[in-house]
């Protein structure tokens, strides 16, 4: 087994960007403030100096315009990585993503692929209030024609980008803004690209399955730790891919534990958690000993004060409580 090294999630993204830019001349990074500023979350710091303004392409504030330009460039021989500063601003580019990126291949009868990677920071937890704390992963996961992934671990932040670039179709990478400073391990050498199709079991357990993704993986693991003290042994699944969803991994776990809790920072109604819940009961109904529980964000625009914001989003305590409910404890 290869040795590991510790870097931050931000460094992992930056390293992956640098590698992609070095390996393939067709790759370029485009977005607001990716240049001199180094990216709103400093992911591209230093890359302008290294690769120049043609390939580290600062854009005006024009989300629809530059995402559309990324689609056109992808259709015409380039491998653009478009950074949308945060998911909040992606609402301005949804028409391009849905009606062009995701759809042109089918509409053209397979003539044109769109090998585009879109990265964006997502999520709440930083007291940025209602307009800057969105989790619209569920909207993206609804769209046929795109792949949606969400790195929770540093190794995935490092490995998902090369895998996304290798995909001939559009891939959206959702980076949780609270994770950039988190440290983790990546292999010291060898191929770092990861398999985008598979969910990962982050903790094995036998009593209940917690299914989640992105920053909530850590919260789920914390909940599992706490529950271990109560002799409740949780399995924690990191979805990794939100579209397509790796049913097999989820179902195998639920067939073992007979209980499931889905954790999602999106609002509860019509979110990712609903989909996972529906899939579990569709495919493992007779294996379930209790209804699938959902732990999601409360249905309120995210408030600014920390105590309200934290009360609005999932917490290890609310996750643990849901697990206990499935076990009727």
């Amino acid at each position: 087994m290869s040795e590991m090294r510790r870097i931050t999630y931000r460094e992992a993204v930056r390293e992956a960007l640098r590698e992609a830019l070095s390996r393939d001349e067709r790759v370029f990074l485009m977005g607001e403030d990716v240049g001199a500023y180094g990216g709103a979350y400093a992911c591209s710091l230093g890359l302008l100096e290294e690769f120049g303004p043609e390939r580290i392409r600062n854009t005006p504030l024009a989300e629809s315009g530059f995402v559309g330009a990324g689609i056109g460039a992808a259709m015409n021989g380039m491998r653009p990585i478009v950074e949308i500063m945060t998911i909040n601003f992606s609402l301005l580019a949804l028409d391009q993503i849905v009606n062009n990126a995701a759809t042109i291949r089918h509409m053209s009868g397979g003539q044109f692929s769109v090998p585009l990677v879109i990265r964006m920071a997502t999520g709440a937890g930083r007291q940025l209030a209602a307009q800057h704390s969105h989790s619209f992963e569920c909207w993206f996961a609804h769209i046929p024609g795109i792949r949606v992934v969400a790195p929770a671990l540093v190794a995935d932040a490092r490995g998902m980008l090369p895998a996304a670039l290798a995909d001939p179709d559009p891939v959206v990478i959702m980076e949780h803004a609270t994770l950039y400073n988190v440290e983790g391990e990546v292999p010291a050498d060898g191929e770092l690209a990861v398999d985008l199709d598979r969910a990962a079991i982050r903790r094995e357990g036998t009593d209940a399955t917690i299914v989640t993704y992105s920053a909530n993986v850590m919260k789920a693991l914390a909940a599992a730790e706490a529950l271990a003290g109560e002799a409740i042994d949780c399995e924690v699944i990191d979805l990794r891919s939100l579209r397509p969803i790796d049913d097999a991994t989820i179902l195998a776990s639920v067939r073992k534990t007979h209980r499931a809790v889905v954790v999602d920072e999106g609002w509860r109604s019509v979110g990712i958690a609903a989909e996972i819940s529906a899939r579990i009961q569709e495919q493992a109904f007779f294996d379930l000993d209790a209804p699938v529980e959902r732990v999601c964000s409360v249905e309120v625009p995210i408030p600014y004060p920390s105590h309200l914001e934290q009360a609005a989003i999932p917490q290890p305590e609310t996750i643990a409580a849901a697990v206990r409910r499935t076990l009727r404890r």
Partner: protein, 332 residues
């Protein structure tokens, strides 16, 4: 001033070619309207009748390496760009031998071999795409032009402005062609734009713009050649506003109650085919017998296109989910 590339060579052949291309579109669409009534073509059908001079004129200025982006009113552009008529008709039938395997229909004609990038039915949505196509050409060192067609209605959409700014800022090889037919569905230009001078919206970005009589195919060709030449020379984007008119309703669903009959008639008298035909005939560039032969030839082409479409197969229902992702065309 004008170089060889910029000048329009109005030889006998070229005149005949311009007339042929316009007539091909006209006859094709007349047939399409018929087939729509017959239920062979469904969904939305937006006829280009009256506007043929624009697509035909602009395409003369493009090479095979250039790219084209169009709207839902794009049969004319597709034909003028050289897509086989049968494939376009079959697409409108929804058959597998259509240009997009029938998946797209009238509004989504695509062709990789012709670098024809749709067929975009979201107003304004094609402009950022064109910017990206041009960006890739520039980054890859190709000296291609991307011609992007859209209606004057698009100028009110934010995307128009975002795209114009990006193209100008990055000096990209885009030839923007606004087909100003003075109506966006039932909304007259004056109801939608505070400034009736659409070209001014390019000018403010520093994109040189020219207004041209979109009913005059030679004028359009000449203007397009000048503009495409500048774009190809690396001078950045150019903007052409072709003032034109649609003789038919917006789509087959439109009862067309919002336009003055007299206005429509006045424009019809300036019809691009009528006008060019009369002028070319008068100046001796073409002859009545030549036109008759042309009409016959085109009638045969249209007939063959319909037969091709009729003869096409339907995509098997089992293949419904193909073409969503790359690689799945191999399935089934």
């Amino acid at each position: 001033m004008s170089t060889a590339q910029e000048r329009v060579h109005l030889s006998h052949e070229h005149a005949l070619r311009l007339l042929r291309e316009m007539l091909r579109i006209r006859r094709f669409e007349e047939k399409a309207a018929e087939l729509y009534s017959a239920g062979k073509i469904r969904g939305f059908l937006h006829l280009y009748i009256g506007e043929e001079a624009n697509a035909v004129g602009v395409m003369q200025a493009l090479t095979e390496e250039d790219a084209v982006v169009a709207t839902y009113r794009e049969h004319g552009h597709a034909l003028a760009r050289g897509l086989p008529m049968g494939e376009v008709m079959a697409e409108m039938f929804g058959k597998v031998n259509g240009s997009s395997r029938g998946r797209g229909g009238s509004m989504h004609i695509f062709s990789a071999p012709r670098r024809f990038y749709g067929g975009n039915a979201i107003v304004g949505g094609g402009l950022p795409l064109a910017v990206g196509l041009a960006l890739a050409d520039r980054m890859l060192g190709r000296s291609c032009v991307t011609a992007c067609f859209f209606g004057e209605g698009a100028a009110a959409e934010g995307e128009f402005h975002e795209a114009m700014n990006l193209a100008a800022l990055w000096r990209l090889p885009v030839l923007f062609v606004c087909e100003n037919n003075f109506y966006a569905m039932g909304t007259a230009l004056a109801e939608s734009e505070s400034n009736l001078d659409i070209a001014a919206h390019a000018g403010v970005y520093g994109v040189p713009a020219e207004v041209v009589d979109g009913m005059d195919v030679v004028a359009v060709e000449a203007a397009a050649r000048r503009a495409a030449h500048a774009v190809r020379q690396g001078e950045g984007p150019r903007f052409l506003e072709a003032r034109t008119y649609r003789f038919r309703a917006h789509s087959m669903f439109d009862p067309d109650l919002y336009r003055d009959k007299a206005e429509v008639e006045a424009w019809k008298e300036r019809g691009p085919i009528l006008k060019f035909h009369d002028w070319a005939l008068g100046s001796g560039l073409i002859h009545e017998s030549g036109v008759e032969a042309l009409e016959k030839e085109i009638a045969r082409e249209v007939e063959a296109a319909v037969a091709f479409a009729e003869g096409g197969a339907w995509e098997p229902v089992e293949d419904l989910t193909r073409y969503v992702s790359t690689g799945d065309e191999a399935a089934a």
